[in-house]
Amino acid sequence: MIVTKAASASELIQSVEQADSPSRLIAAVRALADACLEAGIPTLISVLGYNNPEAAVIAVDGLIQLGKVAVPALLEQLDDYNYGARAYSFRALAAIADPRAIDVLLNAAEADFAPSVRRAAAKGLGNLDWSQLPADQRRAAQDRALKALLHISTDADWAIRYAAVVGLQGLAEFALGQSPAALSLPTDWMSPIGDRFEQMAKADADLAVRARVAVAQQQLEDSHENTT
């Protein structure tokens, strides 16, 4: 079985590399993504830079399916020159939610020049799977994410602020979902997030951002009622 799988992996990879039309490329990427093979990870990541949005979306989904195992290669192969490719990588990293990506996400959310990369990173920061971090590192990592998201929630670009709200809601939801033993955590966190949401709900320049804050406030209220 292993032998056939290996053989078919190289065939699948080859057909992506040799695809000579957009439709063949899409079909080949789909086949490789569906096979869910570790050996296909570097190829799926290269597809993100092919300037074919349909193929890229299929590759992102394939990488998300593969999950944690794709994270080291995604971090290694971040494309410094092609922001389109980078944005797809960050969408995959955000969805996989592996906290090993935190430094890269923090850096991108605050400083990448491409808005699409910053949006994906901000959303990702709020939705990391913190339970994968050792307890003694968790709090410090969460504080860094919180600080970064609060900071970019004042960005000049409405879409970055919108993404920051989504990220902050994610952090607050994680805090609310903690066991009662960790209740000191939510209280510490909830107040800066809650305060920031209050300000934005009243004063953000864009109606869509204000509406998204209102949704976050409503959903947090609901989760709070369910946990108490």
């Binding site: 901000a122 959303k123 879409a159 919108y162 993404a163 109606l207 509406a211 409503q218």
Partner: protein
């Protein structure tokens, strides 16, 4: 560097003239009457983008609407175009009479920019003047041969009438649903939806998406967004167009809807729009 896909408007930002310093407010105001007309043009654009609508900025731009120095080979008035666009963004209704005057300018693009800005300024006094652009119907408003535009800025006029909530424009807009130029049909469908809230017009935009090329898909997404037709949200989110474009269209959809309601309400279709936006981040 800007991401090209995040720029939904057809009007490109002019590049800074070679060798010039980055502008500040004083410099831009001074440049508006500079002997180098290319500096005037850039200054007008800069003021529309970065000024806060100070009365002296508005006064200076109103003066620029009657500029005679900056002319194209074909007789156009580039500075007037930029000044008219800037005045719409600055939101001071004192510009309305001068912009109304621009609706009679010989330069199509000045008329178009003035119509758009009058729509943004929201003063209903300009409704009769805008209606005039539609009065001859489709026949009087065909493409001008050799030029990429119609005889009159019908799209801009319909858009302005839509934002002015000018329901009396409905009978004049309706014939444009059958205009030979697709873009114009779409502008008409969008205005008809906004002014009548009849779902059939929103559906028309949704249907048009299925056999449009990329350029037309982008403009349709923006039309759907501006229409506030919330049932179009899923089609926008799944269109074969760059994500940045879809996010902008969904935002516009949500905000147009709120503006039509006169309030931010978290109905389930509105929450659906936001869930789709979240997924595109």
């Amino acid at each position: 560097m800007l991401e090209p896909s995040a720029q939904p408007y057809s009007e490109p930002s002019p590049s800074e003239p070679a060798g010039s310093e980055p502008l500040n407010l004083e410099q831009a105001l001074a440049n508006l009457t500079h002997s180098d007309v290319s500096l005037r043009y850039y200054a007008a654009w800069w003021l529309g983008k970065f000024a806060a609508g100070e009365p002296r900025v508005v006064d200076a731009l109103i003066l620029a609407l009657s500029d005679e120095a900056d002319r194209t080979e074909m007789g156009g008035y580039p500075l007037r175009r930029n000044a008219a666009r800037a005045l719409g963004k600055l939101g001071d209704r004192r510009a309305v009479p001068a912009l109304l005057h621009c609706l009679d300018c010989s330069d199509f693009y000045v008329r178009e920019a003035a119509a758009q800005s009058l729509g943004m300024l929201g003063d209903p006094v300009c409704i009769p003047a805008l209606l005039r652009f539609l009065e001859g119907g489709v026949e009087a408003n065909q493409m001008v041969s050799g030029r990429p535009h119609l005889a009159q800025p019908a799209e801009a006029a319909m858009e302005a009438l839509e934002s002015l909530q000018a329901t009396e424009a409905v009978p004049l807009i309706e014939p444009f649903l059958n205009h030979p130029v697709q873009r114009v049909q779409h502008a008409a469908a969008r205005a008809m939806y906004v002014l009548t809230q009849t779902p059939a017009y929103g559906e028309r935009l949704v249907l048009a998406l299925s056999d449009a090329d990329l350029k037309l898909r982008r403009s349709l997404l923006l039309d759907l967004g501006a229409s506030g037709y919330l049932l179009g949200a899923d089609v926008i989110a799944h269109a074969a167009v760059e994500s940045s474009f879809k996010i902008i269209a969904l935002k516009s959809l949500l905000e147009s809807h709120f503006k039509q309601l006169g309030a931010v309400t978290l109905s389930s279709p509105a929450k659906r729009v936001m869930a789709l936006m979240d997924a595109l981040l």
